[in-house]
């Protein structure tokens, strides 16, 4: 039986071997890293497909379509413009000689890149719960496609922003070529927080609800529509806020030139990368446990 069997089907030793054991993968860091790298590569195609799916499905079933991408920054900008017109915001604190609507629109557009990147991972995971609990796919793909979602929505906002900058005739500094660096920083920072929240967010719905409230408050604790204040509790919070250096850096690169506080910028960027990596490991290790709890 065995002989004919081998003749018939040939050797199986060349097949890839997968092993599932109760032991934590963190005990084998080298092979864990290898698996992470392997899955990240394997994720690209799927991430792209999921992204196309999400974008087309998302806007296919809405009446206003892509308008929903520019809606939040538009509303926030209006609020700030109204606040200023009622002298709630001191125009001197802006410190930049450009029309306020253009300045506000830029700040909110950049800020919403962070917000979208923050919300996207949990949102994508929630929407993919069906697939996630039924099919074993490279789970990195979901995060990659979440980043793609945030970038896509940012791209739409950018079209509006560029239009506004041209309309007001804002002179742009040559350093704008470095703008992608702080933008990637904002994207990665948002993704980092979003990924870190996934394990808890999948188990407890509270996280998603809290996230909505937190992001709507955050816009006032971040120097979106004005320069960071230097006094008082708000000033302290703004300076401690890790979004500040990236956001101010981005604004500086467009309007003034190289940001003053490059070291802080560098440190925040580095820490973002580090925590994103940690978040990735947690995500990988936690997901099978979560799927077991939510997927019955």
């Amino acid at each position: 039986m065995t002989e004919s069997y081998e003749q018939k089907y040939g050797d199986v030793s060349n097949l890839e071997v997968t092993r599932y054991t109760p032991e934590s993968r963190i005990r084998h860091p080298i092979s864990l890293l290898k698996e992470m790298w392997h899955d990240l590569k394997a994720s690209r195609e799927l991430a792209w497909r999921l992204l196309i799916r999400d974008i087309s499905a998302q806007y296919r079933q809405t009446a206003l379509g892509y308008f929903w991408a520019i809606f939040p920054p538009l509303v926030s900008s209006m609020v700030f413009i109204l606040l200023r017109s009622s002298t709630m915001i001191d125009p001197k604190k802006i410190g930049v000689g450009i029309p306020y609507p253009a300045y506000v629109m830029m700040g909110t557009t950049f800020f919403y890149l962070f917000v979208d990147a923050l919300n996207a991972p949990l949102k994508v995971i929630m929407e993919s719960k069906m697939i996630l609990t039924k099919i074993n796919l490279p789970r990195e793909a979901l995060i990659l496609s979440a980043m793609g979602d945030a970038l896509f929505s940012f791209a739409i906002k950018c079209i509006l922003l560029v239009g506004i900058l041209i309309y007001y005739g804002v002179a742009v500094s040559w350093t704008v070529v470095f703008l992608p660096i702080p933008l990637i920083g904002l994207l990665l920072m948002g993704t980092m927080v979003g990924v870190l929240l996934i394990p808890l967010g999948l188990l407890y719905k509270d996280v998603q609800s809290a996230l909505v409230i937190a992001t709507s408050g955050l816009i006032f604790l971040t120097p979106v529509a004005y320069l960071p204040s230097t006094q008082g509790t708000l000033g302290l919070i703004m300076r401690a806020n890790p979004i500040t250096p990236l956001l101010m850096g981005a604004k500086d690169l467009v309007l003034r030139g190289i940001p003053d506080d490059l070291p802080t910028f560098g440190i925040v960027f580095g820490l973002t990368l580090g925590f994103l990596f940690i978040g990735w490991i947690i995500y990988r290790l936690a997901l099978p446990i979560i799927i077991e709890r939510i997927g019955a």
Binding site: Y5, V12, T21, I26, L46, K134, I282, I289, E292
Partner: protein
């Protein structure tokens, strides 16, 4: 000796009965996972139970193995562990090659997108590039017979179309191990046949199939070896014919035990259901000797006796029965009798006599229906009473009572020359 494609050793998995506690255990497990704690998971915490315990088996290349067991026996848990969706708490799984689990067909389908778009997504989920999928698309469309609907959104597909497309995608992606979960039970007969042939074709090309089903006739006719899971443990492994008979006789025993418990209740609810139409006083089964029983041999007479009293006046009432097997397929249906319902005349006795029954071994439900003259249903119950058939091998010639849908006495003869009987 060749290595098996799937090797499961001392596999154990525990679940928690309460959701809140389960979520909290989840948080703690994540903590343990991240710190790399070596603490054994073999102890049950409060409210936990073993969904699988000490499961061992192997699947070799080119083998079609059946996985059977009652609902809640741990089959789905086992499949989830095999596909790597969840982590074992004990033991080890070793898999060689690419595994493709059809735990839920078309699970990854997005209803808003078209069939074509969904095929590409499903392919990408399983690690196929767009170029590879371009090549496979034709085959998938052919096999699913969905070419004309392929650019329609999936939400407008019927459930049969869903299944066809899902199955077509899965089998055409050429896995090394295919897990088929109750797929062949859906779809129309011609697609089922096609799916079955495709599975056989894949087997000959050397892939392995784990076939999960409640249909014992199908399991024993398709698979050579079978694993019987019961309460999270492997109760028996062996040749499919043997294992399916063990399973059947177990489920007959279980059904009987259940019936004893619920018997009074079942009958009670039956005659309470339509107080404004009729009262069913009695529903009993007996054999040719007139002995009341719910257990028959093949070829016994089965006599069904209804004692009922009409409350409402109706003309030309039709009584009907359906007899269903354990996978709920109707085996026979009978509706001979017409009668006028005359209220307040006292109970009527109605008998239906099935001479020399041809049922194969298994459990059956009798559904009881009262229809009015136009065929409109006045009263329906799917399982008014249950009976079981024990195959008596001594009287069944040339027939395997565990296979097929009915039993027949076949006579065989071999002729050497035309007209000359040996």
């Amino acid at each position: 000796m060749t290595e098996p494609l799937v090797k499961i050793e001392h596999l154990g998995k525990k679940f928690c009965r309460r959701l809140k506690r389960s979520l909290w255990y989840g948080v703690r497990d994540i903590g343990a996972e991240l710190t790399g704690s070596r603490k054994s998971r073999s102890k049950l915490r409060k409210d936990e139970f073993w969904a699988l315990k000490d499961v061992n088996f192997e699947i070799y290349k080119g083998e079609l193995v059946g996985l059977i067991g009652a609902n809640g026996a741990g089959k789905t848990t086992l499949l989830k562990l095999l596909s790597g969706l969840i982590k074992p708490d004990e033991g080890e799984i070793t898999i060689r090659g690419k595994i493709q689990a059809l735990i839920a067909l078309g699970a990854g389908f997005n209803p808003i997108l078209t069939g074509r778009e969904n095929i590409y997504i499903n392919g990408a989920v399983l690690g196929f590039s767009k170029r590879e999928m371009d090549k496979l698309l034709e085959e998938i469309m052919d096999f699913s017979e969905m070419s004309e609907f392929i650019d329609m959104p999936v939400q407008s597909y019927s459930s049969g179309m869903h299944v066809r497309l899902g199955f077509a995608v899965a089998v055409n992606l050429k896995p090394d191990i295919l897990i088929v979960d109750e797929v062949l039970a859906v779809g129309d007969a011609s697609f089922r046949r096609k799916a079955r042939n495709k599975m056989m074709e894949l087997l000959h090309s050397g892939i392995s199939v784990l076939f999960v089903s409640h249909n014992m006739a199908l399991v024993s006719s398709l698979t050579s070896r079978c694993i019987y899971l019961d309460k999270g443990q492997v109760k028996a492994v062996g040749p499919s014919d043997d294992i399916t008979s063990i399973y059947l006789s177990d489920s007959i025993k279980k059904a009987k035990a259940n019936q004893k418990e619920t018997h009074g209740h079942l009958m009670h609810s039956a005659y309470m259901t339509m107080p404004d139409l009729f009262i069913l006083h009695e529903l009993r089964l007996s054999n040719q000797q007139g002995v009341e029983t719910e257990e028959f041999s093949t070829f016994d007479d089965i006599k069904i006796t209804f004692v009922m009293e009409f409350v409402k006046e109706l003309e030309n009432v039709l009584l009907a029965i359906n007899i269903r097997d354990q996978v709920d397929d109707v085996v026979i249906s009978s509706s001979k009798l017409r009668l006028d319902s005359r209220p307040n005349k006292g109970p009527v006795t109605v008998q239906c006599n099935m001479e020399k029954n041809r049922f194969r071994e298994g459990n059956y439900n009798i559904g009881f229906y009262v229809l009015d003259f136009d065929g409109g249903g006045l009263y329906k119950t799917h399982a008014a009473v249950t009976f079981s058939i024990m195959a008596d091998m001594s009287i069944i010639k040339h027939n395997d009572p565990t296979k097929g849908f009915v039993v027949m006495d076949a006579s065989w003869a071999v002729f050497d020359e035309p007209g000359v009987r040996l």
